[in-house]
Symmetry: D4
Subunit: 248 residues, 8 copies
C-alpha cells in the first residue's frame, strides 16, 4: 500500500535511518509507480460493477478457458463477450456454473450478483437481426447490476408497435436503442423519452449500409437531442455507458 510505504519512509527519515537526499530521491520516484493508481483500478472495478470482462473474438477456445480459470481465482464475476459455444465448453471445464447466452454470444459467471437500483435500463431493438447486439447489451447491463427491460422488433416502419410502449419509454432511466439499416430508432425514441438515449448502430443491412456506417451516420445526425452514440455493433460499450448512468 502506497501510503504505508510513504509512512515507512518518513519514519526511517525521522529515525535518522534514511538521509534527506535518499528520501527526496525516493519521493520523486513514487508518483507514477505506487501512489493512487491502485485506487484508480479499484475505482474502475467499482465503476463498471463487475470484476473483469473477456473479449473472446480472436482467441482460441483453450485460451478463453484458461483466462476464465485465471480470473476466477481473484474475482467472483467474469463475463466473456463475442464468444462461441466452443469457448463456453472450455470454460465449463473450469467453471461448471458458467451460463451460456446464445443470442448474446456471452459466457457469464456470476457468483456474487450486484444489487440493482430500482430504475430500469430499457433495451429497444429495431429488427430481429439486431437481436445479437441488443442481447449483448442487455445481458451485460444485467451483469453490471441493473434491471433491464427489453423492447424488440419496434422498427420505425411500423411506428405503432413502438408507440404502443410509449409509457415504458417515458418511464425508463436510460434507453439503449439498437438499429441497423437506416438507424432511425434512436431519433424517434429520444423524441418520446425523458431520459438519455444510448444509440448503437448495427452492421445489419447490405449494399449502401456499408457495414453499419449508414446507421452510424444517422444516429450522429439525430434531430432529437439527448443521444450519445457508440461504435457499430458495440452492445457491450452501450451497456457500460448505460450502467454508469443508471447506477449513479
Amino acid at each position: 500500500m502506497d501510503e504505508v510505504r510513504i509512512r515507512k519512509l518518513l519514519g526511517a527519515f525521522q529515525e535518522g535511518e534514511l538521509p534527506l537526499e535518499d528520501l527526496v530521491a525516493a519521493l520523486k520516484q513514487l508518483p507514477f509507480k505506487d501512489l493512487g493508481y491502485a485506487n484508480l483500478d479499484l475505482h474502475r472495478e467499482m465503476r463498471r460493477g463487475c470484476a473483469e470482462v473477456v473479449y473472446c473474438e480472436g482467441k482460441r477456445p483453450g485460451q478463453v478457458g484458461e483466462i476464465f480459470g485465471h480470473l476466477l481465482e481473484h474475482h467472483d464475476n467474469v463475463l466473456g463477450t463475442r464468444a462461441r459455444p466452443e469457448d463456453h465448453a472450455e470454460v465449463l471445464k473450469r467453471a461448471p456454473d458458467a451460463v451460456w447466452h446464445a443470442e448474446a454470444r456471452i459466457i457469464r459467471v456470476e457468483r456474487r450478483p450486484l444489487e440493482a437500483p430500482p430504475t430500469e435500463i430499457l433495451v429497444a431493438a429495431a429488427g430481429t437481426s439486431d437481436l445479437p447486439v441488443a442481447e449483448e447489451a442487455a445481458v451485460t447491463a444485467e451483469f453490471m447490476g441493473n434491471r433491464v427491460g427489453r423492447l424488440y422488433d419496434v422498427g420505425v416502419a411500423g411506428i405503432h408497435r413502438l408507440l404502443a410502449h410509449s409509457e415504458r419509454i417515458a418511464s425508463a432511466s436510460v434507453i439503449i436503442a439498437v438499429a441497423g439499416m437506416e438507424g432511425a430508432l434512436p431519433s424517434v425514441i429520444a423524441g418520446l423519452a425523458r431520459c438519455p438515449v444510448v444509440a448503437v448502430p448495427t452492421s445489419v443491412g447490405y449494399g449502401a449500409s456499408f457495414g453499419g456506417v449508414a446507421a452510424l451516420l444517422a444516429m450522429l445526425n439525430s434531430c432529437a437531442s439527448g443521444v450519445g452514440v457508440v461504435n457499430i455493433d458495440n452492445g457491450f460499450g452501450a451497456a457500460t455507458l448505460a450502467s454508469l448512468i443508471n447506477r449513479r
Copy 2:
C-alpha cells in the same frame, strides 16, 4: 415531318424520279436523323407535362433572361429552378407575368396551365431548413399539372406531429418525403402510407452529415419498402418522378 418525308421519297421513287440506289442511301440516313425521334421529344414534353425547364445555377442573370425570352417564343410554360432574385428581375423584363417563388427559388411562367388529375401529391418535410428543397418539389409538381398538398415540420423526433396527419398520408397518390440530418422521415411515412414514396435527402446538417450523405444512406437503407430515392437536394427530380406516377 419524318413520315411526310418518307412518303415523298417513295413517291419520287415510284414516279421514277429517284433511282433505287439513291433511295436506299437516303433511307439508310433517315433513322437517326429524322425518324421517330421528334416523336420521342414530343413524348418527353407530354410526359413531363411542361415545355421546358431552365437550371439557373451557374448562369448569369442576363443569360437566364435571354434563355427565358428564347423559350417563350415557342412554349407557353417555362420554369427556372435554383434561381436568384436577380435572375427573376431579368426575366421580368421579357415576361412581366413571371412569378417568383422565394422559398423554392423558382421562376415560373405559366400561360397555359395543365389540367390536374384529382389525386394529390403530398410533399412532407422534416424541418424548416428543408423547406427550400420541399418547395422546389411542390412548385415544380404544381407546374407539371398536379394537385399538391404540403405537410411541413413533421420530423421524426416529434412523431405525434406526423401521426396527426396519418389520414392524409394514407390517402395520398404519391408522397415526396424531404429530410436532412438522419433522413428517417421516408421510412416512417412509408410505414404509414399505401402509395409510393419518393425520398429526397437534403444537405441540411453539419459535421457527420457530410452534406446530405447521412440522409441519403438512411433513405437507401430504408427498412420500409416502396421507397425510391433521388439525389441530394433534388426537389425538381422528385417532382418529375412523382408527377409521372400521379399522372399515369
Copy 3:
C-alpha cells in the same frame, strides 16, 4: 376488433357497469394499442399484394422451413428471397407446392394468385451477371400481382440492342432498370420512356466499382429525370415500389 371493443366499453358505461373514471383510463390506453393499427397492417398487406415475405439470408434452412410452415397457416401466399436450394428443400417438407426460382434465389408458395392489371412492368438488365437481381425483381413483381416483361443483356455499350426494343420501353407502365459497373442503363432508358424508372444498382464489377457504389452514384446523378433509386442489389425493393406504381 377495435371498434367492437370501444362499443363494448361504451355499452358497459351506458349500462352503469363501468364507472366514468375507468372508462376514461381505458380510452387513454386505446390509441396506440388497438385503434386503427390493425387496419394499417391490413393496408400493408393489401398494398404489397402479398401476405408475407421472408428474407432468408442469415437464417438456417431449418429456420426458413419453420417460418414458412408457420406463415402458411395464416396466409395463402408466401415468398422467400435470398434463399438457397437447402432452404427450398426444407420448405418442400411442409409445402410440396413451393416453387424454386434458381436464378432469382426465390422460394414461392402462391395458392391464391393476385389478379394483375393489364399494364406491364418491364425489367431491363444490362449484363448476364445482373440477372440474379433482375430475376429477384421480376419474380417478386409477378408474385405481387403484376404482368412482367423481361429485357435482358441490353447494356449501354451495345446501344442498338436496347434501341431495338424502344417500343416496349415506350409502352411500359413502369420500368425496373438493373445494372452494375458504370450503371448507365437507367439514364438511357429514362430518356426513351414515358413512365417512371426504378433504378437498381448491382454489386457486379470489381476494383473501383466498390461493390456497387459506382453504379449507385451514377443512378443518383442521372441526367434523365423520372428515376427513383433503391439500394444496391435490392431487386425485391424495386419490385415493391414498381408494384405500388403499377397497381395504383
Copy 4:
C-alpha cells in the same frame, strides 16, 4: 386539455346529446390529435430544463430577432446558438437583458434560472481552438440548470496538465470531453473517471483530419468504456445529453 374533452364527450353521450355513432367517430380521431401528445411536449420542456433553443446559423439577424421576440412572449428562458454579434444586436432591441457569450457564440435570455443540482458537469477541452465548441457546451449546460466546471488546454500531448486535475475528473458527475485533431482526450479521461463521458469531436485540424472525421472515429473507437459520442462540433447536443444525465 384532452382529458377534459373526453369527459365532455362522454357527458354529452350520457346526456343523450351525442349519438353513439358520433362518439365512436370522435374517439377514433382523438389519439393522434389530442390525447397525450401535449403532455409529451410538456415532458420535452421539463426534460431539457429550458423553454426553447434557436439555431441561428443560416438565419438572418432580423429573423433571429423576431424569433426571440415571439418566443419571449411565452417563455422566460431562450437560448440562441451558433449566433453572430449582429444577431445579438437584433435581439437586444427586443430583450435588453440578452447576454452575449462571444466564445460560445451564444445569445442567452434567462429570466427564471433553473435550480441546479449540487453535482458538477465538467467540460474538458484539448486545445484553445476547441474552445468555441467547449463553451457552447458549457454555457448551454448552465442554461439548462447545471453547475459547470471548465478544464481547458489539457491535450494528451502534455498529459501532466490533465493529470494535475485527476481529482476533479474523479469527482465529476458527467464529463464533456471536447477535442479535434486525433481526438484522444475522451479515452484518457474515461480511463481516469468514474462517470459517463460525452465525447465531442471538433473540426479543428487540417489535411487528414477531414473536418473532424479523424477525431470522430477515434472517439467511436475509444478503448475506454463509458463514452457516448455526439456529432462533430455539436457542443449543444453534448450539453443536452450531459444535462439529462446530471439532472436525473
Copy 5:
C-alpha cells in the same frame, strides 16, 4: 553537347593531357548530368507538339504575364490553361498576338503552328456545363497540331442526338468523351467507335456527384473496352494523350 564533351575528354586522354584516373572520375559524373537527358527533353517537346504550357491557376496575373514573356524568348508557341481574362490582359502587354479562348479559359500564342495529320480527334461532351472542360481539351489538341471535331450536347438521356452522329464517331482517330453527373457518355461512345476513347469526368453536378467522383467511377467501370480515363476536369491531359495517339 554531351557527345562533344565525351569526345573532347577522350581526345585529351589520348593526347596524354588527361590522366586515366581523372578521365575515369569524369566519366562517372557524366551519366546523370549530361548524357542523353537533354535529348529526353527534346523528345518531350517533340512528343507534346508544343513548346511549353503554363498552368495559370494559383498564379497572379502579373506572374502569368512574366512567365509568358520569359518563355516566348525561347519558344514560338506557348499555351496558358485555367486562365482568367486578367491573366490574358497581362500577357497581351508582352504578346499582342495572344488569343483568348473564353470558354476554354485558355491563352494561346501560336507563332509556328504544327502541321496536323489528316485524321481527326473528336471531342464529345454530354451537357452545356461540360463545355469548359471540353473546350480546354479541344483548343489544347489543336495547339498540339491536330484536327479537332466537336460534338456537343449529346448526353445519354437523349440518345438519338448522339446516334445521329454515329458515322463521325465511327470514323474518328481518337475520341475525347467529356461528361459529368453519371458519366455514361464514354461507355456508349466506345460501343459505337472503332478507335480509342479518352474519358474525362467533370465536376459538373451536385449532391452525390461528389465533385466528379460519380462520373470518374462510372468511367473506370465502363462495360465497353478501349477506354482510358484521366483526372476530373483534366481536359488538358486528355488532349495530350489523344494527341500522342493521333500523331503517332
Copy 6:
C-alpha cells in the same frame, strides 16, 4: 443483310405487292432492328482483333467449357480471362488445343492468329505481385495481334532497374504500366517515353492501399501527361486500349 432486306421491300413495293402504308410502317421499324448494327458488331470484332472473350470469374467450370464449345463453332479464336485450372480442364474436353497461361490465368484458343504490326506494346510491372495483372495484359495483347515486350520488377524504389531499359521505353509504340502500392510507375515511365501510357493500378498492397485505391488515385493524378488509366486489376482492358492504339 439489312440492305438486302430494304431492297427486297422496295422491290415488292415497286411490284405492287406491298401497299405504301405497309412499306412506311416497315421502314419505321427498320433502323434499330436491322440497319447497320450488324456492321457495328463486325466492327467490334475487327476492332478488338479477336472473336470473343469469356470472363470466367463467377462461372462454374462446366459453364466455361460449354461457352467455349459454343463459341468455337463460330469463331477461330476465343480467350478466357480470370480462369482457374479447373476451367481449363473443362475447355480441354472440347478444344484439345486450348493453352493455359498460369500466371495470366488465361485460357487461349487461337486457330487463326492475327498478323501483328511491327511496332511493340511494352508491358512494364513494378513488383512480382503485379505479374498476374501484367501477364493478363500481355497475353491478351498478343492474342489481339500485337508484338509484346515485357519489363518486369522495375518498381520506382530501385529506379536504376527501370532506367537500364530507357531505350526500350523510348522506342515502344504504347506502354502498359502496371503497379500496386503507391502506383508511381506510370508517372516515371511517362516522363521517359514518347508514346501513350496505359496505367493499370493493381490491388497489390495492404492497409491504406485500400485494395488498389491508393495506386488508382496516384495514376489519375500523374504529374506526367499522356497517361490514360483503367480500372484496378483490369489487365484485359489495358490490353484492349493498347491494341486499339498500336493497331491503328
Copy 7:
C-alpha cells in the same frame, strides 16, 4: 521549484512544525501538480530546439502580435507559422527584428540562434506549387538549429533532374520529401538514399487528388522502406521530426 518545496516540507516536518498526517496528505498531492513535470517541459523545449511556435491560422493579426509580444518576454526565439503579411506587420510593432519568409508564410524572431550539427537535412520538393510547404519545413528546420539543403522542382516525371543530385541525396542525414498530386517522390528518393525519409503530402492538385489524399496514400504505401509520413501540408511537423533525427 518542486524539489525545493519537498525539502521545505521535510524540513518543517523534521522541525516538528508539520504533523505527519499533513505531510502525507501534502505528498499525495504532489506528483501530478509539481513533481517532475516542469522537467518534462524543459525537455520539450530542449528537444525541439526552440522556445515557442505560434500557429497563426485562425487568429487575427492583433492577436498574433500580442502573443508574440508576450512570448518574447520569456523567450529569445519565437516562430509563427501559417502567417500572413498582416500578422507580420503587427509583430513588427513589438519586435522590429521579426523576419518575414514570404514563401514559407513564416514570421521568425531569432535572437539566440541554436548551434547546428555538421550534418544536413535535405528538403526536396516535386513541383513549384509544393514550395510553400517545402519552405515551411526548411525555415522551421533552420530555426530549430539545423543546416538545411534545398532540392526543388525534382518531380518524378523528369527523373533525370532528381538523379543529377544523387550524391547529395546519398550523403544527407535525413531527407524531407514534399510532393502533391501522385506523391511518388519519397519512394524514388528512399530508393536512392541511405538515411530516413520524412514524407510530406501536399494538397497540390485537383479532382481526384482530394486535397492531398492521393499523395498521402501513395506515401503510406511506399514500396521503399525507411519512410515516415506526416499530415497533409504539415511542413512544420516534418521539420520537427527531421530535427529530432538530425540533432540526436
Copy 8:
C-alpha cells in the same frame, strides 16, 4: 565491377584495339546499366543492416522454402515476415537453424549477427491484440542490429501503466508506438519523449475502426510533434525506419 570495365575499355582504346566511335557508343550505354548502381545496392544492404527480407504472404510454403534456400547461398542473414508455421517447416528443411517467432510471424536465419549500437529502440504497444505487429517490429529491429526494449499493454485508457515507464520513454533513442482502435498512444508518448516516434496503426478494432483507418488518421493528426507514420500493420516498415534512425 563498373570501374573495372571502364578501365578495360579505355585500355583497349589506348591500345588501338577499340575505335573511338565504338568507345563513345559503349560509354553512352554505361550509365544506367553498370555505373554506380551496384554501389547503390550495396548501400541498400548496408543501410538496412540485413541481407534480404522475404514477404511470405501470398506465397506457398514450398516457394518460401525455395527462396530461403536460394538466398542463403549468397547471404548470411535472411528474414521472412508474415509467415505461417508451414512456411517455417519448409525453410527448416534447408536451414535447420531457422528460428520461428510465433507472435511476430517471422522466420529468422541469422548466421552473422550485426553489432548493435548502445542506444535502444523502444517498442510500445497499446493492447494485447496489437502484439503481432509490435513483435514484427521488435524482431525485425533486432535482426537489423539494434537493441530493442518492449513496453506492452500500455493503452491510454490506463494512463498510469504508461507513466510508470516514463523514464524508459525519456531515455529511448527512437520509439515505435503501435496501436489500433483510437490510435492515441503515439500522441501521448511523443509528449513524454525526447526522441522521434514512429507510429504504427494496426487493424485491431471493429465497426468504425475501418480496418485501422481510425488509428491511422489519429496518428497523422497527432497534436504532438516528432511523429512519423507508416502504413497500417506495417511493423516491418516501422522497424526499418527506426533502425535507420538508431544506427546513424
